[in-house]
């Protein structure tokens, strides 16, 4: 609170009074001590560790606020409390992440062995400790692979239409629907493929039997990936400078050729990034696979015939298994899945950083 009066102001008043830099640490230490003494040891409010932490944070916030209000004034106090709150929100979000990561590693390593990655669950009963996720990994790779083959051409072409060809209402409608489609729940995508492919289309070619298969799962994943791929491609195409297109046109190159050989290659890095993020999301989906892939304890390389497993479905199955060997398998599979998804995510982020187009 500087006072500007127009008269000569004493020098030390020019600078607002500040709390010394060590004061937040001091307040934090005091708050922690009081919380431990009162809640943890004094048994106030029930006294668990979680509660102690909550009380400590609350004391820290009020303490810092009060100290700052006394020394620096109300506005500064509010600023300090807001800053502390913002950072504690971040710390709070880290807790589950750290906990999940630690749990994944701690429980996932127990079955991280050769058998796990080279064997299926065929002939494994509740009393058998062996068995692995090979069949599930095969399923995930095939299902996601097919989904990529469906969504990439379709999604890129749709984005090309919206950005390069589309005029007026239709293009806007498609753009809007793509946005809305990103919000379609995965279980609805699964139900759609169930209602359309498994229950209506496959019985025709399958003499009346509903055909649960890896391909059906791939279709469901495609419904989920399509909007992501289209959306990211759209954005990348928009980022390709108009001058590039104009240059091509000026050279007399046909529009389609310009798009196919100038615009798309220029946006390729971003498109690949978008596809990889879509893959990462699809590989972790359980609900649609649960509904339409059927699950299978044995290896099935053919995605078009008979049921197939997938890594996420394997986790779901093993997690609920009444066998002490089930949960370790589930956690190892979870670790595998997270490693896979993280690798894709990190690769996508790195790629996007390297191939960023000028904005």
């Amino acid at each position: 609170m500087t006072t500007v009066t127009g008269t000569v102001v004493p020098r030390r008043d020019l600078r607002p009074r500040r709390l010394p830099s060590w004061s937040p640490a001091l307040v934090a230490a005091l708050a922690a001590t009081v919380a431990v003494l009162a809640v943890r040891l004094g048994g106030l409010l029930g006294g668990g560790w979680a509660l102690t932490t909550v009380v400590a944070v609350a004391l820290f916030l009020t303490g810092l606020g009060t100290a700052s209000r006394l020394v620096e004034g109300a506005r500064s106090a509010r600023d300090r409390v807001a800053t502390a709150l913002v950072y504690s929100a971040f710390t709070l979000a880290l807790l589950p992440l750290v906990s999940v990561a630690a749990t994944l590693v701690a429980r996932g390593v127990s079955r991280l062995d050769g058998t796990f990655f080279s064997h299926s669950m065929r002939n494994i009963t509740a009393f058998d400790s062996a068995g692995g996720a090979y069949h599930a990994i095969v399923g995930t790779v095939e299902q996601v692979g097919i989904a990529v083959m469906i969504t990439v051409p379709l999604g890129v072409a749709a984005a090309v239409y919206v950005v390069e060809y589309g005029r007026g209402g239709l293009a806007r409608a498609i753009q809007f629907v793509v946005d809305v489609m990103t919000g379609v729940p995965s279980i609805v995508a699964g139900l759609f493929v169930l209602a359309f492919w498994v229950l209506v289309v496959t019985p025709v070619i399958n003499d009346g039997r509903p055909g649960y298969s890896g391909f059906a799962a791939a279709l469901a994943l495609s419904v989920l990936m399509l909007p992501t791929v289209t959306r990211s491609t759209e954005e990348m195409l928009r980022l390709v400078p108009a001058t590039l297109r104009e240059g091509a046109y000026a050279l007399g190159i046909a529009k389609w050729k310009t798009v196919a050989r100038v615009v798309l290659p220029a946006a390729r890095g971003g498109i690949v990034t978008g596809v990889m993020l879509a893959i990462a999301r699809a590989a972790g989906e359980t609900a649609p696979v649960l509904l339409v892939a059927g699950g299978n304890p044995a290896i099935n390389f053919n995605p078009f015939r008979d049921s197939q497993a997938s890594l996420s479905l394997f986790i779901y199955d093993q997690a609920g298994l009444a066998s002490k060997y089930g949960p370790p398998r589930a956690w190892t599979a979870a670790l595998t899945l997270v490693a896979l998804v993280l690798a894709l995510t990190v690769a996508a982020k790195l790629l996007s950083r390297r191939t960023r187009l000028p904005r």
């Binding site: 080279s118 064997h119 299926s120 669950m121 065929r122 002939n123 494994i124 009963t125 509740a126 009393f127 058998d128 400790s129 062996a130 068995g131 090979y134 069949h135 990994i137 095969v138 790779v141 009346g208 039997r209 390729r268 890095g269 690949v272 059927g294 044995a298 290896i299 390389f301 049921s307 609920g320 298994l321 009444a322 066998s323 002490k324 089930g326 690769a347 191939t355």
Partner: protein
């Protein structure tokens, strides 16, 4: 440059998937302990597709494992899709036989029979699954229940472990004053059907919800599958649930003793469950071996909550190409060795009187 990088990524992916494709194996080696079943199998090649009840899934897996590891030419696939789905698949001709916890409904019988040219759809009692009432209570391991007490617990009328009714059943147990968490099945299930049938028959005054595959009493917590229920009970103190005995054994849960029609608290064993089956009335006609279980049986030592699961097959008119394997496989399942092989999963062997009838019916399938 960019291209080369993508090319490399693709190359690595392809190489990885090739490597993956090369080294996988469906042949899990038999584990030494207790996996020596399969004696007396008369090998026949071919393939069978079956599906249905999850209650007999463990038994089926064991028999299939025994059969396939003895007979390399045989391929048998049993999927635990549920009794209803199994029956529909049998009727629709997509399953060579179905596993089911409950007999085919009368309304569906004509359609099921229509599938069997020159014969009828018959029920072969094959797997006896006693239903265990499992508990997880601090300080009280061996609990005993009268049917009325169970009915009150599962319908939410008794909410604390130290309720007088529970105390009366367990005068010696130190019961805590904690709330009861009653766990039931989330989805439609034959186990729920049989358990509620038992409650409705043995405690008609306290259980007013009839019997159904869906759980109709209020409250409690629902879990998917018997494995879900047993996992929830093993993790939650103060909980009680009902599961097939096999699940209770696999998870090492505390199994309660149940008050039977003879006026005693019967512990669950293969023997005590078999006594209830032996006293069951046969209601099927011809080759059909459908049973009607008397839940209030006065047979001494009988454990009353049992589930019989059937294999539904055609007495005549089976696919000629599949018949030899079907007969051979079911012969093994209904043999003394086959029945013994699944006891470690918590199934009770069929009493010999029933088993011999089943075996002779299997040998006459056409």
């Amino acid at each position: 440059m960019n291209l080369k990088r993508h090319g490399m990524v693709v190359g690595v992916a392809v190489a990885a998937s090739l490597a993956l494709a090369a080294c996988g194996s469906d042949n899990n080696p038999p584990v030494a302990a207790g996996a020596t079943g399969g004696a007396g199998i008369d090998c026949v090649g071919g393939s069978l597709t079956a599906q249905g009840s999850t209650a007999q899934l463990n038994a089926m897996n064991q028999w299939i494992k025994d059969y396939q590891s003895r007979c390399s030419g045989a391929q048998i696939n049993y999927q635990g899709t549920g009794s209803g789905a199994g029956q529909q698949a049998f009727i629709g001709g997509t399953a060579d036989f179905a596993g089911s916890d409950s007999p085919v409904k009368d309304a569906d019988l004509p359609r099921a029979n229509a599938r069997c040219a020159g014969g009828q759809a018959i029920h072969l009692p094959m797997v006896v699954g006693p239903i265990a009432v499992v508990t997880n209570v601090d300080g009280a391991k061996d609990l005993r229940f009268k049917p009325a007490t169970l009915a009150k617990i599962f319908s939410g009328k008794i909410t604390k472990w130290d309720d007088p009714a529970i105390k009366a059943d367990n005068p010696d147990a130190a019961l805590p004053s904690t709330p009861i968490l009653a766990v039931h099945r989330a989805e439609a299930s034959g186990t729920t059907d049989n358990f509620t049938k038992y409650l409705a028959a043995a405690a008609p005054n306290d259980w007013t919800y009839g019997h159904d595959t869906a759980w109709k009493a209020p409250g409690g917590q629902a879990e998917k599958g018997s494995d879900g229920v047993s996992a929830a009970v093993s993790k939650t103190t103060g909980s009680i649930g009902y599961v097939e005995w096999s699940f209770a054994q696999v998870d090492n849960l505390n199994v309660a003793k149940i008050h039977n029609g003879a006026g005693e608290y019967a512990a669950l064993s293969g023997d005590s469950a078999g006594k209830t089956i032996a006293s069951a009335k046969r209601t099927g006609t011809g080759d059909d071996l459908k049973l009607s279980i008397d839940y209030t049986t006065k047979a001494p030592g009988a454990y009353p909550i049992v589930l019989v699961t059937y294999e539904i097959v055609c007495s005549k008119g089976n696919d000629a190409g599949k018949l030899p394997l079907l007969k051979s496989f079911l012969t093994y399942a209904s043999s003394a060795a086959g029945q013994q092989a699944v006891t470690r999963f918590g199934y009770a062997p069929l009493p010999d009187t029933v088993r011999t009838t089943v075996a002779s019916t299997v040998s006459s399938l056409g």
